[in-house]
Subunit: 356 residues, 2 copies
Amino acid sequence: MILEELNKVSDLISELIKNDDFPEKIEPVQLRDAVTLYPMRPGKRLRPALVMWCCGLFNGDVKQAEYAAAAVEVYHNWTLVHDDIIDEDELRRGLPATHTVLEMYARDNFHVDKKKAKKFGSDLAILAGDLQHAWAMNFLLKLIQKGVSPSLVTALCRNLCEMLSRELVSGEALDVDFSYRNFEKITPEEVERIIYLKTGALLNYSATTGAKIALKIDNLQDKRLQKITDFATAVGTAFQLRDDWLGIFGETESFGKPLGSDICSAKPTILILNTLRNLNKSDSNILLSYVGSAEISSGELMKIRSLIIKSGAEKDVLERSNNLRIYAKNSLSGFPDNKYKKLLLELNDYLINRNR
Amino acid sequence: MILEELNKVSDLISELIKNDDFPEKIEPVQLRDAVTLYPMRPGKRLRPALVMWCCGLFNGDVKQAEYAAAAVEVYHNWTLVHDDIIDEDELRRGLPATHTVLEMYARDNFHVDKKKAKKFGSDLAILAGDLQHAWAMNFLLKLIQKGVSPSLVTALCRNLCEMLSRELVSGEALDVDFSYRNFEKITPEEVERIIYLKTGALLNYSATTGAKIALKIDNLQDKRLQKITDFATAVGTAFQLRDDWLGIFGETESFGKPLGSDICSAKPTILILNTLRNLNKSDSNILLSYVGSAEISSGELMKIRSLIIKSGAEKDVLERSNNLRIYAKNSLSGFPDNKYKKLLLELNDYLINRNR
């Protein structure tokens, strides 16, 4: 049922994005196409679902929250477009990244060398992300057309600029900083903070925005909004822990990027850092020897898996995820039961158990 | 007097930017410093002056428009930060560009090679621009604290996202596109359109925003706003024509970048394209031979200047600028005289005659 409901949200968001006139006048056409690329790709649409369901939880008019749902999705996309440039990821969930699509465009149309095509791809992808950033804000501002009061809309916009952008972009910058630091010296606590900044903050924004539209308030002292923040923050951390686990213990076909790619790209995850913390010197040196490799063979992957299991870090991460799931569930326990509460609880369960 | 008044605006904007708490919580510190770098540098603050003086022109409360003035300045800065990455300009008005400052930071603190430091500089500068984008919007939203109605504020925000961002970013992307096309095949008309998108659109936004705050309206059909648009668009084109002229005929010391650098970087300007259009084949081939050179000697510069003068393009551009100046002046003629009208007319004269 949860997947069916997520699909409904996804279809709705795709429609809103497809029918919105913001991209129409963007020039040149390859920039326009780049701006709509990620937003038009099918996806989980987790953030829009949080907006709409947290609005429904407080018996708000879910239709009224639709533009906010589209806004958080497009907002998420600009951060992905810029992240992909920074991380030099050529793929985004198994499909070409924005800058890669633009690079291919340059190669085919301008007949330039690889280096020039790459520069074109990165330059236009910077601009595509910039336009998505404006597009997201524009969706949020359109809430007024749905009857949300201008003063609540401006408050939601300020939260987006002041809190969310600062947290999210700081998170990305701290992540960049990590890659210049000694991998072993990064602590799981630092990583957990970055998870909040990079993932939790936007989930939190999405959930509280839906609730605020229903409650017609923007008072962060409100107990109900604090519970929603607790819920979304726990879901966000559990979501990321699952992602990290899937990156090592998942099935390649469904996960969209090669297993172990976090280790190849020396991305510090709580799973790996806890493993290193628990292992003895000789085992942790074995694990460290794989960090930054060009690729990891299936034999090496088996070895990595066994080290993580041996250290107890896999068990810990699964336990931690389950505790977060329970904490998230309890955060909603004070609210009356309705269809949307049921969906939020199912979503919570689903995210912990998902295989992709 | 005009310079004194511009300095007053500049000091005010510097104060607003310095005292604003948006950057405070940005992490890490090198990102925070990058976000405030351009906004804190002294500059002409032309856009804030347009906001405030066009507000004063209609007897609006100039103090009320201050946050909008800060908003357009910070907005201008994010576009510069991303442009400088794209254009690989290491200097911005004679001082290190944002990505260059960050590159130096990486070299000094992470002891990495040139290539890695450059990547760090460009990555963090992308994020710094993103945060300035959010910061600009946040300043605009703060107009509510000054008593501007939430519905006018949301209208101003929508103009910023929907019109301005699309125009400005499309202009930058078309400019990138130019660099992949045959220089000779670009027309002066195409360049003029890009001048509007890259420069005129923000000047227009600045001027009309000031007027809208004074008039408490957002009706683009309003004749007064149309006159302000005429004024700002003419000023914008004349401003860019002067920049192009200064790039060839200016004095190096005051202009901040080497004379002829537009020719070295194969930047198509109306001045150069008109020259090529007017010259005979052999003369235009001489001029074309300098396009894309690593540097231009003073002897070559003399030759380039003489070709431009010979073609009549220099006379044309000066005449065109003067006509734009008169057109801009006439656009304001229907409005009652006051201090701010006088300042706007002086600004118009000053921009055409400036030497830097």
